[in-house]
């Protein structure tokens, strides 16, 4: 089976390298971007099955990336965009859902093992885009 | 709510957090401002002038500090309004 392609947009080096390593070990093909602009460029080149998007980044933050994608949708389609946040209750989360984010993960809440589980659920063939894994924190 | 009503609402709410119900009571004395409660603010006439009167009312009763509080209250809306739409008393 072809490997699922994931884009990770995360500015913190340790977090980024850890997630890349863990997801690679889990059998995913993974690219990364170090800030919002870099991320946006890579998203536009596209064909990712899943995009993990951090919020707080230099040059362009996660929300602006989402806005940019709404204003100028990329020619190439991508899978869902899942937000990465640090706080369970960031108001950013609701804003992101309003900007077409399909899910969110709280970095400080999940273990790397749980990250892999969530990513598997988001990229599973049977799951439809927009379905949140059961154990993701509830928002209204 | 138009921008002036929004600005007025923010100012009144901020004043409320400092001086409680007196904030709304003073606001209700301002000409051109109808304030049943902080979620229902209406401005009649020149918004800039009404805003100036509102801040002036607070200054009269609570002193100069209250003017600073008014300025801080409208900071989050800074990018929605241009400087010349603001009365002098609220300019930095």
């Amino acid at each position: 089976m072809e490997k699922k392609k994931i884009l990770l947009v995360e500015d913190d080096q340790f977090t980024r390298e850890l997630y890349v390593e863990v997801l690679k070990d889990a059998g995913f093909e993974i690219n990364s971007a170090v800030d919002g602009l870099d991320g946006l460029a890579k998203i536009k080149m596209g064909r990712y099955d899943l995009i993990l998007l951090d919020v707080m980044m230099p040059k362009m933050d996660g929300l602006d990336v989402l806005r940019s994608l709404i204003n100028e949708p990329p020619a190439v389609k991508n899978g869902p965009i899942v937000l990465l946040t640090n706080l369970t209750n960031d108001p950013v989360i609701d804003t992101a859902y309003g900007l077409n984010a399909k899910g969110h993960l709280v970095k400080s809440d999940i273990t790397p093992g749980e990250l892999v589980e969530h990513v598997k659920k988001y990229t599973s063939e049977s799951g439809s885009f927009g379905e949140q894994p059961n154990s993701a924190p509830n928002t209204n | 709510m138009d921008i002036y009503a929004q600005l007025a609402a923010r100012i009144i709410k901020e004043q409320q957090s400092i001086i409680g119900p007196l904030a709304l009571a003073q606001a209700q004395k301002v000409n051109g401002l109808t304030a049943q409660n902080t979620d229902d603010i209406k401005i009649q006439g020149d918004g800039k002038e009404v805003l100036e009167n509102l801040v002036g009312q607070y200054e009269k009763f609570f002193g100069q500090t209250s003017v600073e509080v008014c300025k801080q209250a409208i900071e989050p809306l800074a990018d929605k309004i241009s400087p010349n739409q603001l009365p002098d008393i609220l300019k930095n």
Partner: protein, 449 residues
């Protein structure tokens, strides 16, 4: 028998005071009105001045009104001391007349125009000599007839009343301003504290999460074999950093609760279901420690509560029980109804609590007095019960702890209002509502050795 004219004049003066909207200009308005009204009853003055003294006898304020052409007159400082016998009369609460206006007033050109006499009327407030009313006349006054004397005294009292009113208002305004200043400072400090907690917890999270994640990977990397010692080291480091994360979350939550930034999202909640959810969540960790967690399904009415927050409370209580109960023990969640509340009791067969320690349980970082034994032993933050209590109290419920004593287990019981009751209605009306300033609670994980 007072004449109609006099009554009419004084009525007008009264009305003037009553009609003045701006309390701070009461005296000025009264005096101005008097200048116009008093001539109607034969009291014609060119200038009226009210001078007030402070408690030490120093002049602290004066209010003057005058006819056209008398604008340049100023009160001479120390005018009273230059007039010893006038002073004596005033102190005896008598009117006095002076035919030497130059002792009272001065002008830039040093000539006193047409003022020939000055009537001095003492103002007494609360039994003390508070000021003098000076009435400057263009006529040469030799003595004051009795009726005029009385009329001037009546008018002086009006001035005194107006002054008292104005002064009280000024005091109120000053006090309000001072209170405002203090409140503004407190408000600022409160905001700073909130910002600090917010930023600190944000900033702290990244490195804490990195530590936690890398430790997890170190412990779980496929293919790498770790020695037992290494596993233990990493495991303890992992648990410790989880404690740290929980502590930061707890502090953030407390800061939010205390600043009133927590809103309640109330709905009808089935406690049986909620308890079952929580039991599911902890089942793995409980089994690892050889503990049973049982939720007794009882017929109880739904309660009016914020589901997520009560979830946290249950997690906290059950988590505590798991912490303090040895292998083989049981934690039972029971319910009973006592109108208008439903009571939920989390009972364990754990280490129990000595009676003298029960009261400190719900305090922040509850510690025993005169003892270094932390109540929050083995892994807690010391804040969980405080947060649980805050949440339950916000719901208008109560939370209590009971224990037959050390070694005999503990029961934590909390109450929540039943839907449709008066209490539930009051809760609905009074609960903090969601605004753009309110936040939810950060979730803490169940953490124990």
């Amino acid at each position: 028998m007072p004449a109609i004219e006099e009554l009419s004049v004084f009525l007008n003066l009264q009305q003037t005071v009553l009609d003045t909207k701006d309390e701070e200009s009461l005296l000025r308005t009264l005096l101005k009105s008097a200048l116009e009204e008093l001539p109607k009853i034969g009291l014609s003055f060119s200038l009226i001045t009210a001078v007030f003294f402070d408690s030490r006898g120093k002049p602290q304020a004066n209010y003057t009104t005058n006819k056209q052409g008398f604008d340049n007159l100023r009160i001479k400082p120390g005018f009273l001391n230059a007039n010893e016998n006038i002073k004596q009369k005033l102190l005896l609460n008598l009117l006095a007349v002076s035919n030497s206006p130059q002792l009272f007033f001065e002008t830039p050109q040093n000539n006193i125009f047409e003022i020939k006499s000055v009537i001095c009327s003492p103002i007494r407030v609360t039994g003390t000599f508070a000021g003098i009313l000076l009435l400057a006349s263009e006529k040469n006054i030799v003595g004051i007839p009795k009726t005029e004397d009385e009329l001037i005294k009546i008018f002086t009292n009006y001035v005194a009343l107006a002054y008292r009113l104005q002064d009280t208002q000024a005091s109120l305004t000053n006090i309000t301003k001072e209170v405002y200043e203090m409140n503004a400072k407190l408000h600022q400090l409160d905001k700073l504290k909130d910002d600090f907690v917010s930023v600190a917890s944000h900033e702290l999270r990244t490195p804490m999460t990195a530590i936690k994640s890398y430790l997890w990977v170190a412990m779980n990397k496929k293919g790498d074999q770790l020695s037992e010692d290494m596993k233990r080291y990493l495991s303890r480091a992992y648990i410790s950093v989880e404690r740290l994360i929980n502590l930061v979350n707890d502090m953030l939550n407390i800061s939010r609760i205390e600043s009133g930034r927590i809103a309640l999202k109330l709905s009808a909640v089935n406690l049986n279901e909620l308890v079952n959810e929580v039991t599911e969540e902890v089942t793995v960790k409980a089994r690892e420690k050889g503990l049973h967690v049982i939720g007794l399904n009882k017929q109880i009415p739904k309660v009016f509560a914020d589901r997520d927050k009560i979830h946290e409370v249950l997690l906290n209580l059950i988590g505590n029980s798991l912490k303090f109960t040895k292998t083989g023990g049981t934690i039972t969640v029971d319910f009973y109804e006592k109108y208008p509340y439903v009571f939920c009791a989390v009972r364990d067969t754990g280490v129990g609590i000595a009676p003298e320690n029960l009261s400190r349980l719900f305090a922040k970082f509850g510690r025993l007095e005169n003892s270094y034994v932390a109540v929050a032993e083995s892994g807690g933050t010391g804040l969980g019960l405080y947060i649980s209590k805050s949440i339950v109290n916000l719901h208008k419920g109560q939370i209590t702890a009971e224990s037959p004593g050390l070694g005999n287990g503990t029961t934590f019981t909390f109450s929540l209002p039943i839907i449709g009751t008066d209490i539930a209605q009051r809760l609905k009306d009074e609960a903090p509502k969601e605004t753009d300033k309110t936040k939810d609670l950060e979730k803490t994980s169940v953490n124990f050795v």
